[in-house]
Symmetry: C2
Subunit: 119 residues, 2 copies
């Protein structure tokens, strides 16, 4: 299949797919003339990339995972678990930050109304 179909099947744009290829996140596909030709394996791979992105992994991290997998040929479950744990820690700190921002916004609101509001 050509890139448009892969895009439709995975929800990634053709541009995104070419980006993944350009940074070595997916292998360079065969060409029919100048057109990239993809297989079902590529569909599965791009799907995995999208899902991993959706839970907070960036492309550099995914690239490391792909490199590990190709070294090891076996799924590195320990490393994956560590990554998940560190992602969850980061989420916790993001939440703390958000709550702190919310408190600051409340304070700012009260201060504004004390200073400029009526009574």
């Amino acid at each position: 299949m050509y890139i448009g179909k892969l895009a439709k099947l995975t929800g990634a744009s053709p541009k995104a797919i070419r980006l993944y290829e350009s940074i070595g996140l997916i292998p360079a596909p065969a060409r029919q003339g100048k057109y990239r030709v993809y297989t079902d394996k590529d569909v599965a791979l791009v799907h995995m990339i999208r899902r991993a992105q959706a839970v907070g992994f960036n492309l550099a991290e995914l690239k490391e995972l792909v490199a590990l997998k190709s070294q090891n040929s076996q799924f590195p479950i320990k490393i994956a678990n560590k990554l998940i744990a560190s992602k969850r820690e980061k989420l916790r700190s993001d939440m703390d930050k958000i709550m702190s921002l919310d408190r600051q916004l409340i304070e700012l609101h009260e201060e504004l109304n004390r200073t400029f509001g009526k009574t």
Copy 2:
């Protein structure tokens, strides 16, 4: 004072201060030769920008606020309160998103260990 002192007093880098000027967020200061010369008003202004950034306002939003203030000459408290409220809503939706990501990470963790783990 020159830009370095303003930077030290406000915690913004000289680069950031020039950026604020380039987008019209702070007025172009007087020059002594080629050097920008700032006053205490600029210190206060950059301080306010930093604090507003810290609670989640981006430079475009701050520019709008500055424009409003220069039109009105009076602090637009109603608008500010609306902005604060909408920021807080956004924070709430960010929180929801983070909690959803965390749930997905938990599920992913369990799934990985069911599929690849021992026992």
